[in-house]
Structure formats: structure tokens, C-alpha cells
Assembly symmetry: C2
Homo-oligomer: 472 residues x 2
Amino acid sequence: MIWPGKEKSKEEKEKETSPLPAKNFSTGPEDLLAYGFDSSGRTGRPSAVAWPQSADEVAKVLKHARENGMKVVPRGAGTGMSGGAVPVASQAGISSSLLVLSMERMNRLLDIDSGNLTVTVEPGMINGRLQRELSVYGLFYPPDPTSMEFCTLGGNVAENAGGPRALKYGVTADYILELEAVLPSGEIIKTGAGTRKSVVGYNLAKLLTGSEGTLAVITKIKLKVLPIPQEIITLLAVFDSAESAGHAVSSIIAGGTIPRTLEIMDRASISAVERYSPTGLPHNAGALLLIELDGHPNTIRDEAGKIVDVCSKLDAEVTMAEDEFAKDALWKARRSLSPALYNVCPRKLSEDIVVPPSRIPEMLASISNISGKHGVPMAAFGHAGDGNLHVNILPEDLSQGASNITALLTDLFARTLELGGSISGEHGIGLTKKDYIGMEISPAVMELMRGIKRTFDPEGLLNPGKIFPKEP
Amino acid sequence: MIWPGKEKSKEEKEKETSPLPAKNFSTGPEDLLAYGFDSSGRTGRPSAVAWPQSADEVAKVLKHARENGMKVVPRGAGTGMSGGAVPVASQAGISSSLLVLSMERMNRLLDIDSGNLTVTVEPGMINGRLQRELSVYGLFYPPDPTSMEFCTLGGNVAENAGGPRALKYGVTADYILELEAVLPSGEIIKTGAGTRKSVVGYNLAKLLTGSEGTLAVITKIKLKVLPIPQEIITLLAVFDSAESAGHAVSSIIAGGTIPRTLEIMDRASISAVERYSPTGLPHNAGALLLIELDGHPNTIRDEAGKIVDVCSKLDAEVTMAEDEFAKDALWKARRSLSPALYNVCPRKLSEDIVVPPSRIPEMLASISNISGKHGVPMAAFGHAGDGNLHVNILPEDLSQGASNITALLTDLFARTLELGGSISGEHGIGLTKKDYIGMEISPAVMELMRGIKRTFDPEGLLNPGKIFPKEP
């Protein structure tokens, strides 16, 4: 006769199946809900969430997932706009259960080396926190995604994040020196080098940057940093039309001045911000440019003069923010754009196209045409200086359904590529753009990318269903 | 009865087996000799040389090689220092015959887009020629390898070339936007994007950069360029010892000033230059720093003041080059270093280590110790600001043979890595460092690199025997 044992408590069961101490692993429904979405609006459902606290713990979680037939979805703070951190199975064509690997508790600042202008962090560290720590040493880290107060540096690496300052300073990949990462096999590797130069085999650190958690789990990041610029000038230029603002952008760049930021907001964006959180922007303007210059005081005063000339010739009114308070108000408006548009239209889609800056006027005109053709309101704002526009699509009601939106996006991306652009400047492909990636990437290149994926992750353990469209 | 045909002439035979018009293909012994070496001192022997004039012709040559069991060695101008362009079979562990694919006739400037600050070139274009063409538009391309008057941009991409200006402006990879390349299969691909930002799948353009011709043949290059700086200040600082100069380098960087260049020459380097081509350098100095600042006149005057203060505290004598003539004389001396040392010692080996700039004083002391330990003279010069030292090894006679040099290099690289450095800053691995790459790269990372190689080039058609050590 077999005596049935006492039924195991939930905690006991979890402990038995958990690769980590109980506080770092959960199958609780509230966690499964909270870690099922990111800022793309897409949702999924994991079977477990793990919060590793070291590279060894990451390796343990990967081993656990492999042994239990689970797939693993690495995650920073979930601020991504393309669904890269959303756990999906059926959309990935698999039936495995999913484990979300949240890196948020590996958030230490490991080293600031002001003598060599480098910094070493864990992936869960928040971008904005790093900025504050660096400022004490007179240093800064240029990439500044709009979500910088919330997003993690690991997520920034995974998506090769940009931000307004990318115009002058480049994107995340330009600051990556060395990465520690855990391979799907559980092996911990170091790649890149601690120095500003190194040509020793293929550059895997740059390859991992922007790979959206599909190749390896990043556990340590060594970054270049720069001395804080001496002074910043902030200008606001008010234009009658988006086209004039676009012409100003291309004239400024062609004139050889490279501002730190050169942001555009069109009329729809301005009015959304003013309704959401009034900051005194001129809401009858056709478009605004928010322009910042940094460097030596004399240099940037000269540069500001040139920019005022360019804008004035296009009938813009230019004002200079007189103090920190005025500067902050302008940036607050800029950073409110995404939530403000969400407030206008909770169903909004945020796109992320990029064209050569000289094509900005044409692209703005095309956005207006595409909006009219499909009968769906659109707003455009973003990093005009490097041609990166966040085109927001604002369907008014449910009748403007999925097939219409697909047709609109197809038109938008086709026009972007026609103008020599790219369908994602900084958000990545993730889930939301995988059906469109073939518009930009040829089958031969896609096959190389699939080969690289197989090299790193032969069993497809990491982030299933992202970047790659269904195999033909 | 069979009548023997007239024996075929050499030209007829060549034509029959040539994938290209006769003028673009040769099996002549003088060509086989001329294309058997590069600037590393290593030599090999190809069976044929091809000079394609288009991506289609590259594809034809690759097809011809595949069909004839040949391997292909892509080549720019042969200025590489690590043997990347040397055709070797037995050292690669193969018995195939080798075809050198010289890209020098694909040398057109295809487009200067001053509105978007980009330029598109064919790979055979000489770096220095691009600089002159750009200067007409008020633009410049920062990477400036010392061989810039001879080296090709394709070679620069293959090796991820740097140069003195890399300190402020970064290396070739930082300027790559989009590449066209021919895969070993013959397929022509485009990768990267024409814009400054793009996150659309894995970044294969950055992966090809620095891949030393082992993955694909680059046939078109789109680069970022920058407006020419308004003004340049050139300083010469004379130190009593290499250690003091090293301390100055780390103090300048730690002080938050990033010069355009910060070059060091030690005593042995100075004396070699003065014997080879006297330029009036102070030949009893312990070391020199050649420092350039660029930008707005006021900014760089302030920066120069700070640098003079740092150097003076270390008892250096600092002079400013008064005019273009004086600047050119200093740079002529700097660029003569490699030929001058070759003149001193035709058997010289040029190494290319890099350490964090704060470790330069320790590295210079170690170089001196290693030279003493092995009884082989050494000279050190190079891009001290980013920690990249060209350590020249100058064996005095044949008794200082291969095994001694191997032991010396092993000590040099071990110390470099101990100080947080990398064994190659800009020359690459090629042939000369493949036996040492395992000191820096772990077996797991090496296996990923081999996997990437197999993905691009499953039959091992391109540049056999480079980068990878013999399989264990």
C-alpha cells in the first residue's frame, strides 16, 4: 500500500523547480501579468519570471530553461517600443513555455575610470542614474533615449538605443568597448576590448549590440564616456509649416554645423502636448525645432548665430532659453510627446523611420499624403537632425482596423526606403516590424543573419519570434 | 589517326582559363612575384592575379576560383602590417592554388553628398585622394592611417584602420554606414543603411569591418564624413624620459581634454628618424609628444594652455609649430618612423599593442624591461592618447632568431593583456599574430568566430590561413 505524501505547498513546489533562490524566481500570476508586456502595446504571457543577480545565476536560469523545454525572453525595464521583451509563443510558431529573464536586479555601477574615460556597469543600471553618477566626475554618457529615467543600459545595448544627442555623438554601439555575456550554452564570455582600439578577430561586441536579446544575455558592459561640455545653448525655432522646418534641418546640417540635438515637432504633436500638460508652446505653429549646441562658449555662440540666420531666412522666430528653468520646460515638452499622444489616442502606434536629413522635407510631405490617403491622423516628431522621425499613427476608432494600418505602414516604409532610409532608427524590429523587415533586408542577408543566430543559439533558446519573419 | 592541334600560345591558354578580360587577369611571373607580399615582411606565391572592375567581375572571379579549386586572397594596396593580404597555402594547411584579387582598379569616387555629410567610394580608392577631394567641399574623413597616401579605403575597412586622429574621432568602423559586398557564393549584398541610425537586424556592416577579407569582398563603401575643423594647433613637447611623457599622456586624457592626436616617440625612434632623414628633432630627448588640437580657435587655445601646463609640470619644453611648414616638418618626422626604423634594421617587426592610456607609463617601463631581458633592441612610438603603441622589435643579427622573438612577443603580449590591453589596436591579426590570438580570445569566443566564418564562407574560399590559429 502506498501512502500518499502530504500535498506540497506552493512554495515547496516553486523551490523544487526554481533555479534561483525563491526571492529571485516567481510563477505568481501577478508577476506573470506584469512581465507580459512592454511599451509596444503587445502582450504575451510567461510561465515564470527570474531576476538573476550574477552572470552565474543567468547561466543557471538558462540551464533550467533548456532542461525544462522552456524558452527565455531577456528583459531590461520594458520601455522598448517594438515588443522585443514581450514573451510570445504562438506568434513565434512554438508551443514551449516562456521564462522572462529580468535583468533589473543586476544594476550595479562597477567602475568609473575617469583616467581612461570609461565606465563599467551591470545591464540593469538605469541610464539616467549613470548620467547622475558620472556628472559628479565631470563626465557624461551621450546616448539619451527619451525613456532615460526608466530604461536600462542593458536594454539600450540590446536595441542599440539612440536619443536626441545621437546627432552629434552617435548611438550606443559607438560607446561599447567590452561586453560580458552568457551564451545560450551557459558559457560566460567576454568580447570586445577594454581599450578604444582593438582589431582581434571579428567584433562580436558590436554584433551583440542591437541583437535584441536573440544571441546572448549581456551581464556586464564597459562603455566609453566623455567630459561634460562646458556650456549648452538651447534654441526654440517656430515655423509656419513642417516643410519649412524640414528645410531648416537640411540647411543646418549641410552648412557644417552639427548641433548636439535638432528635434522637430509638427503641429499635431505640439497640440497634443499642450492639451496633455501645457508648457506654453506656440500651439498655432506649423512646426518647432528644438536645437541644442554644446561646447566652448565662444564656439557655440558662433554656431547659434549661423543657425538663427538659417531659420530666420525661412521666416522662423527663434528664441534662446535664458536659464535652466526655460531649458527644462522645453525638454519637458519634448519628453511628454509620447505620453501626450497616447493620451490623445490610446491605440497609437509609434514608428521610427529614418531618412537622410536632406530628404526630411519630402518625407514630411509624404507622411501628410499617406495620412490623407488612408484617412488616419498622424503626428511626426523626433530627431530630425539625423533624419530619425517618430511617426505616430493615431487611428480614431476601431473601424480603422488592422488591415488598413498594415497598408498604411507598408506605404510609409516603402516611401522611407525610396528616399534612401531605414525602417527603424532606434526602436529595433522586435515583434512589431518583423513582417516588414523583408522590405529592407534581402533574402541573402537575412540568411546570413539566421546563420549567425544558429551559431550563437543553435536550439533557439533566446527570445523566440523576434526580428526574423516566419521562414519562407 | 588523330592529328595533334597546333600548340596553344600562352595568351590563348590564359584567355581560356581567365574569368576576366586579359588586361584584368594575369598569371605572369612578374605579377605573381609582385602580389606575393605586403608590408608585413611575409611572402607567399599566388597562381594568378585578378583586377576586377565591378562587383559583377568580383563575382565572376570567385566563381572561377571555386570551379578551379582555387582560394582567393583579397587585397588593397598591400600596406597591411600583419600579412592579411599575403597569399599562403601551406601555412594555411591547404594545398589549393591561390588567386590574388586586387581591388586597386575599383577606385572611383562615386558620390560626395555634402548635404548629408556622406561619401560613397569604391574600395580601391586611396585614403589620401579621398581627403583631397573632400577638402574642396570643406569636409574631411577622420581615419588617417600613416600609410594614407598609399593605402586603400577597402583595405582600411578590412582592417578597421585607425591612425593618429582616432584619439578624438574614432576608427574606420565608426564611419561605416553601408557596404556592398560579394559573398563567397557570388551573391552581391548590401548591408548597413545609408542613414546615421538603423537597427534592422544584426549589424553586418560593422561585422565585415575588421574581418580582414575572410567573410566577403567589399565592393562599395558609404562613409560618414565631417566638416573640416576651423583651426589646428600643433605642439611639440620634449621630455627627459619616456616615463614622463607617458605620465603627461594620462594626465592630459584624465584632465578632460581630448586632442585630435597625441603621438609619442621614444629615444630610439627619434634617433632612427634623425639618421634616416634629419628634420631637426631634439635627438638627445628622452621622448617627444606630438600633440594636435582642432576646432574653434578660442576653444583650442584654451585647451593648448591646459596641455602646456600639464607638460611643463613634468619638466617638458613645449613649442608650438608657428606655420604650416613647421607643422608639416613634424608630421614628416612622425610618418618617417616606420621607414627609418626599417633602415636601422631591415629585419624589424612592427607590433601594435594597445593599453588603457593611464597604463602607458607602466607599459613603456615593461617594454624597456622586456628588451633588456631578451637582449633585443626595441623602439616605441605611436598613438599614445588612445594607448596604441607601435612597438618595433629590432633584432641586431641572425643569432636573435625566431624562438627568441617568439618568447619576446609572448612576454610583450602577456604584459599588454595584464594591463587591460589588446594585442592589436589597428593592424589586425592576419598571419603574424594568429599564433597569439588565443592569449586574448577564449576558446568559446573563437568558436563563435569560426561559426560566423562558416556562415559566410562554408567552403573556406576567402583568405585562407588568416586570423584563425590551427584548429586544436
